[in-house]
Symmetry: C2
Subunit: 609 residues, 2 copies
């Protein structure tokens, strides 16, 4: 039995419980294919890149190897001290992946990486290749920018995955020693210290869940309570950048660096449910509501500013300069999942769906070996003198996003369903088998669907206890009127062979923006089911330019099969008017997640009316 | 007799010649007040700030003083190696200012600064306090980021100002030695080298003009021809950032860091007119045309991106995240002036007017002692959790803009008029006396106007030769139809007392954006004469929020005196509809340059229809 990422302790105050990871399997369709590409292509590609880029080599140097440390982001001298974390995130992905089924090549690669990590750790438990190799080994001298706790956080998440998924505790021993090293210096009787980049907080809570040792939870609580009082310093972007401007249980809105805020709030929810801290949970929920209402792109992307990778102001949502880092979309899924467990509010599952199908998946190519760090909603037609600045890349100097995608996709089945005392909740639709151990007995379900291309979802009961229980199916926010309940509840005595069929309306939706979003005033976007669509220059009539096309609201957009993009893809044929003088024409729209997989030039999600 | 900034040699290929600086004086009205505030307040404030911030102290350290070098932009460790240049720009301002009239306090402050600069210079001519104090004294090791030539460029511009304005050659001796030091290492027989930040190119041309020594012009030519071939390296933002991606005489569009591109093109025009390089001049003109058509804000501001202070793509002109650095607007004036002299095309004077009245002046408070580094066209209503991020500041860690404003305002009278073989051209309207020595004899003119508040401009001939000559008055682009000639030409035998009266129509204009500017689609802006207007939250009806107000196109905006902002200011009363539910209301608009001089919250130039 393997349990999943985020596994609240039995006493934790959550509305829902995750399903044991090995009890959920995606067996076909859209997400099965994405998980297969991740397993067969992306993760192995990642191992090659970790070797080529030097991230793994850096840890070898810390273990006593000879060579040049790799930490230069560019010739301008920007140094990246956090590259170890990419190795850890990749290891986490392999941990979940091997839990889904053995693979000799993956296992061998992971064994090699784990051995390097083990060798890099000092006898006192400290591990950070940058400090050990480049900074002379004196730890915790630059908590603001050094990412030392952050790296240990990712190490710990990987260790938890290997423990839960495989019962393999090689990494857990390393993580425990590393966290103990931090706890000795920064624990209750130690000096105050928080990392400029949150991450370790949620990892520490999970470490308590795994080990039963409450010191780690206490350390996470301490770090959360120390934050927001100016301890980190203003830095170059002000204390907001690392959420040090207001206490975590007070701040009303998200602020600063998007990934930092979202990782921080993940840790806050984890602490809140374990400690029963309702005030802390309420603060995160308030911030999330405001974030959804004012700072989230249609794609679920977050973070409007390039300069400091920050959220920006409310309604500051430029499509062209959207930063919308892949990691921020991933972090929003991590946070929404925690809030879903804590509260049972299916709105969080709506947010997960929107982010996964759009802002997360756009970060990885259809072939699984090229990535986007930023995910804008518009790219303009190339002009002379401007190099193409939005091509997918096989890796990045700052490579946080690719292994983050890997670990999310390899654990994605864990996000499909939950259970509670009354029954089973299905949040995300995919061809899957789900088994849940309820108080009344074991439930086994089979979900069949062509989602997201088709709207019919059939849930078949394979096994059921005799007592009645509640099957709860999320009705996606886009599929229902504001008056409709967000979930369909089916309460009955179930028998094997019973089926429930959900028919979601996948009519094309022409979406108007909130009037306060200045940057897309006068535009519309196309959506179908959970998918946001975009128009690429490859799909517009010859002789026209994307910037000249307007949506022709006198005519209806219609569905159009797009096997040229990938099998099963449903595109949209979009009526447009050429403001450049070409009259009434048709353009093609494809799902946003699939953009930039052909030779294209311009792209836009929001189309002028 | 003092001659001005940018003084082409007699053989230079220019259509127009500048007027001897001491022959133009602004004697009253709008610009006289701005020059007076600059002289009485801003420049003295600048000297205090140069002392407090350590910029002057850094040079003292280079001269052997004891103390801590000041170069930290923030606690994140960003180091600024170019702070010497702020001292030089301030000295340039004082040079022009003392040329307009003696002032003991200014002269004493300048004497002090000049003595420090002289003492800082090494016997071999090298001068750069950062390299001398912080980097161990080895010069030219980091041309990409070190700004060593850039600082010498500003030193040389100051030296030229003191020579031309006052015949004082203390700085000139320092500049010549510094340029000779560079020429020895990077001259025709030396190694190739260009600075990551252009500036020295235009200064070297002026140094040839002052000294007659063509080595400096040759060095500038060499630097221009070396640029665009990847010599500087990609840096952290790519070779576009410092215009090293395409040769200067080839690149079709502006690209990268706005101030770098504009300073570079200033040098290119200076070289082109001295060398008769028509191809180079044509390349700059092409870039300028494209810049005006696709990358210039309504305010004349330039540079859309915060991350790398770059232009951004064509039509990428977000009002909220407009970077529009004050220095970029100033640099556009410097470049447009050179192009105006080179070509005689009054369109360049139109651009100067737009930039000066809007994007430049917005960079300095009405009191003259607070500044904006960036000049956005929109600021949203403050929300909890977001600190006010757009307040004027008395100085900046990176303080390039304030002394740049000082030197421009102190030499602004030089930009009013030019002459050629046929007569006198008046480009900018202000109460002024203008004296020009034409081939036919000396002309003396008096201009009287309430510009920009009133549209009548009266030019009175005070003295004229007997032969006929041509008086040319620019008809601002905003005041005429596309069919109208851009200048009014008056050719006659003039007698003292003759007057010409221009009546410019200052009706309020409701301006639609170019349809390709996505960020302000569906909005309008208000203009009157050369002024762009904005609405601040202080001028909207109580209980409404700026984001909820729409322009009511059914009613007419009307003029409204705004003595509360400053004497003479004409504001606009603007009909609006409260989309928040408040019905038909009136809001006040004031000239954009005057924004953020009261306690305000939100501001916007572009108003939704």
């Amino acid at each position: 039995m393997s349990i999943g990422n985020v596994w609240p302790s039995p006493a934790a105050q959550t509305a829902l419980r995750p399903i044991t990871a090995s009890n959920v399997e995606i067996v076909g369709g859209f997400w099965a294919e994405r998980q297969l590409i991740n397993r067969r292509s992306t993760i192995l590609h990642g191992f090659e890149q970790l070797q080529q880029s030097g991230s793994l080599g850096n840890l070898r140097l810390a273990a006593g190897g000879q060579g040049q440390y790799q930490a230069e982001a560019d010739s301008g001298g920007t140094t990246l001290p956090f590259l170890d974390s990419d190795v850890y995130k990749w290891l986490e992905a392999v941990g979940w992946e091997l839990g889904r089924g053995h693979d000799p090549a993956l296992a061998a690669a992971a064994d090699e990486a784990i051995a390097v990590v083990a060798a890099a750790q000092r006898p006192d438990g400290y591990i950070n290749s940058f400090v050990q190799v480049v900074r002379g080994g004196a730890p915790y001298r630059d908590l603001a920018w050094g990412h030392e706790f952050y790296c240990v956080g990712h190490l710990t998440q990987a260790a938890v995955a290997w423990h839960r998924s495989l019962g393999d505790d090689r990494l857990l021993a390393i993580a425990v020693a590393a966290c103990d090293h931090i706890d000795r210096e920064f624990g209750p009787s130690g000096r105050p210290g928080v990392d400029g980049h949150p991450c370790i907080e949620m990892a520490l809570v999970e470490l308590t869940r795994v080990t039963g040792d409450k010191r780690y939870l206490r350390l996470a609580e301490r770090m959360l309570s120390l934050r927001g009082h100016g301890l980190i310093g203003p830095g170059r972007f002000g204390p907001e950048y690392w959420q040090d401007h207001e206490p975590v249980n007070v701040a009303q809105t998200v602020a600063g660096h998007a990934v930092r805020q979202l990782y921080l709030d993940c840790g806050a929810v984890d602490v809140a449910v374990e400690s029963g801290d309702r005030e802390l949970l309420a603060a995160v929920r308030r911030r999330w509501s405001d974030l959804m209402a004012t700072k989230t792109y249609l794609t679920g992307g977050m973070g409007s500013r390039h300069r400091d990778e920050a959220f920006g102001d409310a309604y500051e949502l430029p499509p062209d300069r959207a930063y919308t880092e892949t990691c921020a979309a991933i972090a929003s899924v991590m946070l929404a999942w925690r809030l879903l467990l804590a509260t049972g509010d299916s709105g969080y599952a709506d947010a997960i769906e929107r982010a996964m199908f759009n802002g997360v998946l756009s970060g990885i190519s259809l072939t699984g070996d090229e990535f986007f760090y930023t995910n804008p909603l518009q790219r303009r037609t190339h002009r002379a003198g401007r190099p193409g600045d939005a091509e997918r890349a096989p890796w990045y100097a700052c490579a946080c996003c690719p292994p983050n995608l890997m670990r999310l996709l390899s654990s994605w089945h864990q996000f499909l369903a939950t259970s509670d005392a009354a029954g089973v909740q299905i949040h995300q639709y995919a061809n899957a088998t789900i088994r849940a151990d309820l108080a009344v007995g074991t439930v086994e379900l089979e979900v069949q669907t062509g989602y997201p291309w088709q709207g019919q979802v059939t849930v078949r009961v394979v096994q059921s206890p005799e007592e009645p229980w509640v099957l709860s199916l999320r009705l996606p926010q886009w599929s229902r009127s504001p008056q409709t309940q967000p979930v369909a509840l089916y309460t009955q005595r179930w028998q094997a062979g019973d089926t429930v069929v959900l028919d979601l309306d996948l009519s094309i939706r022409v979406t108007e923006p909130d009037r306060r979003v200045d940057a897309v005033r006068g535009c519309v976007a196309l959506e179908r089911g959970p998918l946001v669509y975009c128009v690429e220059s490859a799909d517009i009539p010859g002789g026209t330019q994307l910037e000249d096309l307007k949506f022709d609201s006198e005519r209806e957009p219609v569905e159009l099969a797009r096997p040229d993009i990938a099998p099963s893809v449903t595109g949209i044929s979009l009526p447009v008017i050429d403001a450049g003088g070409g009259g009434h024409l048709e353009a093609g729209a494809i799902p946003y997640f699939a953009w930039a997989n052909r030779k294209v030039d311009a792209m836009r999600v929001w189309i002028p009316r």
